[in-house]
Amino acid sequence: MRKRLFILSLILFVIICIYLILQVNLILADIASGFASLNPAQMKATYRVAFIYQNNNQAFWKEVKRGARAATKGESIYVNFMESTKGQELQLVDYLRLAIDTNYQGIIIQGDDESSLPFIAEAWQAKIPTLTVVSDLPDSGRLAYVGTNNYYAGYVAGKILCQSIKKEQPKLAILSPLRRVDLKSSVAESIKIFGFREAISRKETNLPLWKKSNPTLIDSLITVRTLLQKEPQLDGIYATYPEGTLAVARAIFEKNLQQQIKVLGSGDLPEIREYLKNETLTASIVEYPYQIGYQAVREMLLYLREKRINVSNNIDVIILDRNRLEITGASK
């Protein structure tokens, strides 16, 4: 009996040793593969597309990228995300030049910077098709625009805010990540605000107050608290970005000003939904960045393959209010 047990344990030992050695071997092979030569042919995709954007909203662009990546699945396309951030040397224009110089087959660019107009034309001359996403540059000679109709988004926001405020000539404020003077640096933002102002102008409101904040929650909160202190007669606030929306909602909730100040936000976050539920927020304009990214890549692929494109690629916005919370479900 003891002998059998001994032999059994010996066999077990050998099996475990072999298993462990194989495991270690696999890991080492895995590590070594990092240094081993790979066939570049495996890497080579039929189409190289440059996706150029200015990252001023981390969460938003993350979703756009996710959508774009999803669109590449199973396709012989490589989308190179060229992200320009503030403070970085390479800006949108540089990337655009780079994409032209390195002969990308297609360029998808955030049409937010008017300085990129000549390069889009240059690309077109170099037979590189360009799509604008998120914000449009209609005069650039781009192939098409894929993204939210920013004017509509802003207009709807203004309309809803005005409807919710019963007062004549209400006092309104805009919370934006851009200063009024910097508006030209973001076409999307400027069009959105333009739409908003058009909507509120019908109610003969005063010029809205303009508040700029960094697109972080803490900065936005500070800005909103200061605003509320300085402007106790405020009737409504329109926040153009999700962090700003959260900051406004929190500040209003803290001061219990839900009845006095109506808030219109942007984005779909669980916290935003909570504030919609308790009526701190009147509504939130929700864009679909995932859809934008996905659609942009699909459109580019369509053009590269078939040389045709859908002219209208506006991605709808949803007005998320208390009644629509359950219909739309929780955001990702």
């Binding site: 001994f6 890991i27 590590i31 240094f35």
Partner: protein, 504 residues
């Protein structure tokens, strides 16, 4: 004695130890090799990262050189600057070839395409540079300046891109490093696990090995001590280690078994010898008794036929002379004599023995008259066989030693024969002087020690002990005889003989 030589296939302890050590050493070396390999790969990883960083920095430097010397060549048209610009350009070309290596080396798609872009940018840069130099050489200054302008912008772009690439590279390497760390951590965990398993199993093996050796040895020592103490029937030592120890154990088991068998054999022999000796002694004793009896018979048979015939003649003369009683007496003596002539070995019926006793009593009655009264009481079948001359010597003893004087009025001897408890019980009781205990012991001792001595006491009959021995030999048992005696009151001799009926 030839012992069977054991021949079993066994795995020597020496080999067991060597094998175990080799396996252990191999495993430890294996683990050590893997750990060192892991370390080497990690170092290689770091080296690769640093090399890449250095490569990108050198590239930047070369770009600056190209731009610098090209610009100087454009302004001074010197051969030296042209060569330097061209040399820097060639240097970039060489570096581009190295870049192919980097392109192949990476498994990260993002990195691959970034290097791919860089390669294209550099190629374009080189082409622009060569164009600039060429047009300047040809003297097309305007075009050369235009090219140079584009070259400068491109250099600026590449520089920015390189800076970004260095930064991105750090991220990629970091990502790779994190991945590597996770893997090396797993290697570490596996190594620990392997070490623990090796350790535990080594302990189990060692204990098993040690117990496998010491247990049978301890048992053997214990058994050897038992054998030394004389206990040859020892427990078998169990060992199934398939090594020398098993062989030794088996040999030891065989040895102890053989010792035990031999001991039993010797014991049996000794017992047999004892029995033989006893039997021999027994036979000798019987022979002695027979010889003694026969001698006595012979002594009594001094010309027995002559005596017998004479006695018969005297008896007839006595009858002729009208001395009938004398004649009858002499006849009785003659019959007695004839009965005595029978072989002592042959059994007789109880009837014959009683008849003989009656003859004897008749003679004694004539001899002693009414001084001694004899009573015979038989309550048993008379066809039982008993040894010849059993009753008469006992009766003779009673007559000769039972009574000192016959002056006493009531001198009586009772003879009772009956069957009791499946034995023929013969009791001869006298009311004579009796025998003291010491005297009784003396009589027995004398009879035993001086069987051949002829004393006046036993001259006319066979000794008591003689009768016992004969009876014991006849019946093959020793609980046949009993003497009860009390000084002054009498003696009782009881025989309890097994029942043997005469076959018809």
């Amino acid at each position: 004695m030839i012992f069977k030589v054991f021949k079993i296939d066994y795995f020597p302890i020496r080999w067991k130890l060597i094998n175990y050590s080799l396996i252990l050493i191999a495993l430890v070396i294996f683990v050590a090799l893997y750990v060192s390999l892991g370390l080497k790969l990690t170092v290689q990883f770091y080296q690769g990262s640093l090399n890449e960083y250095q490569y990108l920095e050198t590239l930047k430097e070369n770009l600056r050189k190209v731009e610098f010397y090209t610009e100087r060549y454009l302004t001074d048209d010197s051969e030296l600057n042209l060569k330097k610009a061209q040399a820097a350009n060639v240097e970039i070309e060489k570096m581009l070839k190295r870049m192919n290596g980097y392109l192949r080396m990476t498994d990260q798609k993002e990195k691959y395409y970034s290097y791919f872009d860089l390669e294209r940018l550099l190629n374009k840069f080189r082409y622009l540079n060569l164009q600039t130099l060429e047009t300047r050489k040809k003297g097309f200054l305007e075009i050369a300046y235009d090219y140079n302008d584009r070259l400068g912008k491109m250099e600026d772009l590449i520089n920015k891109y390189l800076t970004k690439l260095i930064y991105a590279n750090a991220n990629w390497e970091n990502e790779k490093f994190y991945h590597l760390m996770k893997k090396t951590k797993r290697i570490e965990q596996f190594t620990y696990l392997l070490a623990v398993i090796i350790g535990v199993l080594s302990i189990i093996y060692c204990i098993n090995f040690a117990l496998g050796i010491t247990k049978p040895l301890e048992q053997m020592v214990f058994n050897a001590e038992q054998i030394a103490a004389g206990d040859f029937l020892v427990k078998r030592v169990a060992a199934n280690s398939r090594d020398e120890l098993e062989v030794i154990t088996q040999i030891f088991n065989r040895m102890s078994q053989r010792i035990h068998e031999m001991f039993v054999e010797i014991q049996a022999k000794a017992k047999l010898e004892d029995e033989l000796k006893e039997e021999k002694l027994h036979n000798l004793e019987i022979q002695n008794l027979l010889r003694e009896s026969e001698l006595q018979v012979l002594q009594a048979q001094i010309n027995p036929h002559f005596l017998f015939n004479t006695l018969n003649a005297i008896s007839q003369v006595a009858i002729l002379e009208d001395a009938d009683e004398t004649g009858e007496l002499i006849k009785a003596v003659a019959r007695l004599l004839r009965y005595n002539l029978r072989s002592l070995d042959a059994p007789v019926t109880l009837k014959d023995e009683i008849n003989h006793l009656k003859e004897y009593l008749y003679i004694m009655k004539v001899r002693y008259g009414n001084k001694i009264q004899c009573y015979l009481e038989v309550e048993a079948k008379e066809n039982y066989l008993i040894p010849n001359m059993t009753l008469q010597p006992l009766m003779e003893n009673a007559y000769l030693h039972g009574f000192v004087s016959f002056s006493q009025q009531k001198n009586e001897i009772y003879v009772q024969i009956k069957v009791r408890e499946a034995r023929l019980e013969i009791s001869i009781t006298d009311n004579g002087v009796g025998i003291s205990k010491t005297r009784l012991a003396e009589i027995i001792a004398r009879d035993l020690g001086n069987k051949k001595e002829s004393t006046p006491d036993n001259h006319n009959g066979l000794g008591l002990v003689n009768i016992w021995k004969r009876l014991e030999h006849f019946y093959h048992c020793d609980d046949l005889f009993e003497i009860k005696s009390e000084l002054g009151k009498g003696t009782q001799i009881i025989l309890r003989l097994p029942l043997i009926e005469e076959a018809y």
